[in-house]
Structure formats: C-alpha cells, structure tokens
Amino acid sequence: MAGPDPLGAWRRFLALPNESRGKTLAVAFAVSAVCAILVSGATVMLRPIQSANRAAEEQARIEALVAGIPGMADLLAQSGGTLGTVVIDLVRGRAASDVTPATLATALADPANWTALDAGQDLAGLGQRPDYAQIYLLRDAGEVSVVLLPISGAGYNGRIDAVLALSGDMNTIAGLSVTRQSETPGLGARIEEAGWLADFPGTRTRDEDGTLRFAVARGTAASVYEVDGITGATRTSNAVTRMVRFWLGPDGYGPLLAAIRRGEF
C-alpha cells in the first residue's frame, strides 16, 4: 500500500461490526455532529427573518391598539400622526438621560442594567427586570394623553408580552394588546383575541386611595377594576392580573406614572 488511503479507511470503518465500541462511539459522534450543524445552521440563517417578523408583528399590534382607542385617530392627526418614543429609566421613574431607543438593545445586553427581583416583589415571575424600557406616548397640548407601556410576565406555558395603554389620568386602561404568548391554544391563547381584549378599555387600575385593584375576574367582571376571566384558563388569567399589577406597581412603571400624574413628565 502506497500512502494514505482515506477511501479504504472509510470502507474498513464501515465494515467494522456495528456493536464494536469504536464504531458505536464514532456513529454517535457523527450523527450528533451532523445534527448540530443542521440545527445551528438553520437557527442562525433564519434568525434575521424571524426577528423581522416579530418586530413587524409588534408594530402592527401597537398600531392596532392605538387605532382601537376612542379618539386616538383625531389626536394622532393633530400631533402629526406619530407617537413619541421615550426610553424610561425605571429606577428613577423618568426619561433616561444616556440611553436612546437606538442604544436600548446595547444597554440591555449589559447585565448591570438589570435588577434582580426577590420573590416578594416578583409578581410577574420574571426573575429580573430591565432598568430601561421603551414606551410610547402621545401629548395633547403639553399634557400626556395616552401612554403605551410594554409589559411582560410568566404565563402558563411561557412568557407573555403585551402593551398596555393608559389614558391621561394614568388610571383608566385605554386598551391592551398581547404581542407574544405561547398559552394553550383554544384556552389561554384566547388572551390574544380581540373579543377578550375589548373588555379592557375603561377598566380602572386603582381605587381612590391609590391601591392597585386591577384583576382578571374568575368568571364575569364584578367591578370597574375587573375584566372577565377566561373559562378553563385560570392560570393564564392570573398571570395577566399579576403582570399588570407588577408593571403598574412600585417595581414597574409606578414611579413614572406618579410623575406623569403630578405633571412632572
């Protein structure tokens, strides 16, 4: 035999008895390697399309949410047809000075810009909360008339992302839009349906004393602080309750909403 003979070696390898240890290990390794390349290749190549899809979906839902708020079309026409975008520093409860919408993704990639939540605070089951969030708002003669707040929390099957719209009093819900969820189809996944979300506008979040009272009811809503629950999806309904309460509370947008209410924003 002259020189290396890769084809012959390959044939000798294939001719090995299947049960030999060497061939077992080699086959296991080869199958894993091929599959790993396949999976990572597909993930990496398709990721840009997928994130574009998600972004487009979120934009479409925000637009639909805005269009669904009574009187918004007129307000938008007056203000030039666009919502203002602001990055909020959640720790201080006001606009962030050093982070812009363009640099938000970079800022959130840094773990130092996240705050860990302990079990008592962590109503929404998030574990940690970003210190910066991008919100949308609309001003009418200087006063904030609508604010759109992105919120998220742990649902029954996975994370739920939504956008909550609050009217100028920062107490009455103007609308809710679920931008991402993986709840059980036909049950919890109905949080996405317009029929259920239509119950949100007009719902109050706090009573006169300022206590958060918002809840997804068990069954039919009994007060102005409640929306109808979804039959067969108690865990998802509770997740929405906790998520809204967390984000409107002191660890979420609470300080910001108080500032807007005082007219300091």
Binding site: A28, L46, N157, L187
Partner: protein, 221 residues
C-alpha cells in the same frame, strides 16, 4: 425472501386499512391538541409529513451502520433535529401559523408515530420504500387530523379555514357554536367515534377482548 408489497400498497395501506391513528392509536396527543381549527391541523399535518418522510429516508440510508445499543437515541436525535429545523422555518416564513401551533411543533419529536415508523420500518428497508411508507403513514395521520379539525372548527366556531360557513346566532344567523368542540374532550369524542365507525365498517380491525367481562362466561381454569 418474501415478496415486498408494491410501493402503491405501502403508500395507501396506512390511509384507512392500517391507519396509524385509528388502528394503532398512535400520535393522538397532537391529534387532540392542534385540531381546534382546520388551518392549524393542516400545518401540523404538513410539518409531520415532512419530518417523518425525511427522518425515515435518513435513518434508512444509515440503517446498516446504526449500532443496536444506541439505535433509539440516534433516531430521536435525527428526528429532533429535523423538528427544530422545521420549527425555525415555520417561524421564519409562516409566522402566524407557527404562533398558533406554539409548542406543538416541538412535540412532533415525541410523537410515537414518528419513532414507531422509523423503528419498525425504516430501520429494515431501503430508503425508497421507507420514505413511501413514512409518507403513507403521515398522510393517514393527516387525514384524521383534517377530519377532526374540520369538524371541530365547523361546529365550534361555524367556520372553515376562518371563513364563516354557518351563520352564527349572535350575528343574526341560526347556529349557536358548541364551545365544547373547542375543548380537548371533544377531540376524544370525535376520535372515539371515528375509531368506532371504522371498526364497524371493517370488523377485522376490532381487537379481541383481552379480558372476559366479570360474572359471565366460563371460569378460566
């Protein structure tokens, strides 16, 4: 060597006569979960068809070199990788449907139908018959999914593929939707009814009772 059945028989037998869902009662978990509407049922059926056919082909190609001791894990790894790829493709190009299917595409991995076909058939047969057999079984599964999905969407929402078919009572029509049809139990009822109907028409599919009913007949010994 026994004569191999023709490719046409291999393809058509699993449609009704040896349907994997109604005869072998395989893969019913997903058959229950994704059949709330026809569109999701069709996408799930298409995804499973692609995964099963490709997996059967791949496993059949390397069938002489899969060590027996690790054969199950090798098959599962191949199936799982294909499922992830399909899921990514759906998320990229069929975004809305992939959201409706949510976790169930990932669960194709654990669908006993897929492992059942690769283990029982693809591991012992050349690629072409294996892929034809896989396609036949996947189409049999799809058939059941489409039937149940269509029935559930029609009677649960009065729609087919999202288009109103039966005028709803709350919009001035006469049809009151059966909400039960959108819940998982209705899929059990429909599937059970389907199995019963097929076994009545084809009595050879009925299994012999494993246990004699209590209090009747002869004692065993």
């Amino acid at each position: 060597m026994p004569a191999r059945p023709s490719l046409w028989t291999t393809l058509t037998a699993p449609l009704l006569r040896e349907n994997p869902v109604t005869l072998q009662i395989l893969g019913i978990c997903s058959a229950l979960a994704v059949t709330t509407s026809l569109a999701t049922a069709l996408t799930m059926a298409a995804s499973l068809t692609v995964v099963l056919t490709l997996a059967a082909g791949l496993i059949s190609v390397i069938r002489h070199h899969i060590p027996d001791t690790i054969r199950l894990i090798v098959q599962i790894v191949i199936i799982a990788s294909l499922v992830i790829v399909i899921d990514q493709v759906l998320q990229a190009w069929f975004f809305e449907i992939s959201q409706a299917l949510s976790v169930f595409v990932g669960l194709i991995t654990t669908n006993c139908l897929v492992l059942g076909r690769t283990e029982a058939y693809a591991r012992h047969n050349p690629p072409l018959p294996s892929m034809v057999d896989a396609l036949g079984n996947a189409l049999g599964y799809s058939l059941i999914l489409v039937i149940i999905g269509a029935l559930r969407e029609l009677f649960g929402k009065g729609e087919l593929m999202g288009l109103a078919v039966l005028p709803l009572a709350d919009q001035g029509g006469w049809f009151t939707p059966l909400s039960l049809m959108l819940l998982a139990p209705s899929a059990f009822f429909l599937l059970g009814g389907l199995v019963w109907a097929i076994r009545t028409l084809r009595p050879e599919q009925a299994e012999t009772p494993e246990h004699a009913p209590m209090g009747r007949g002869e004692p065993a010994e």
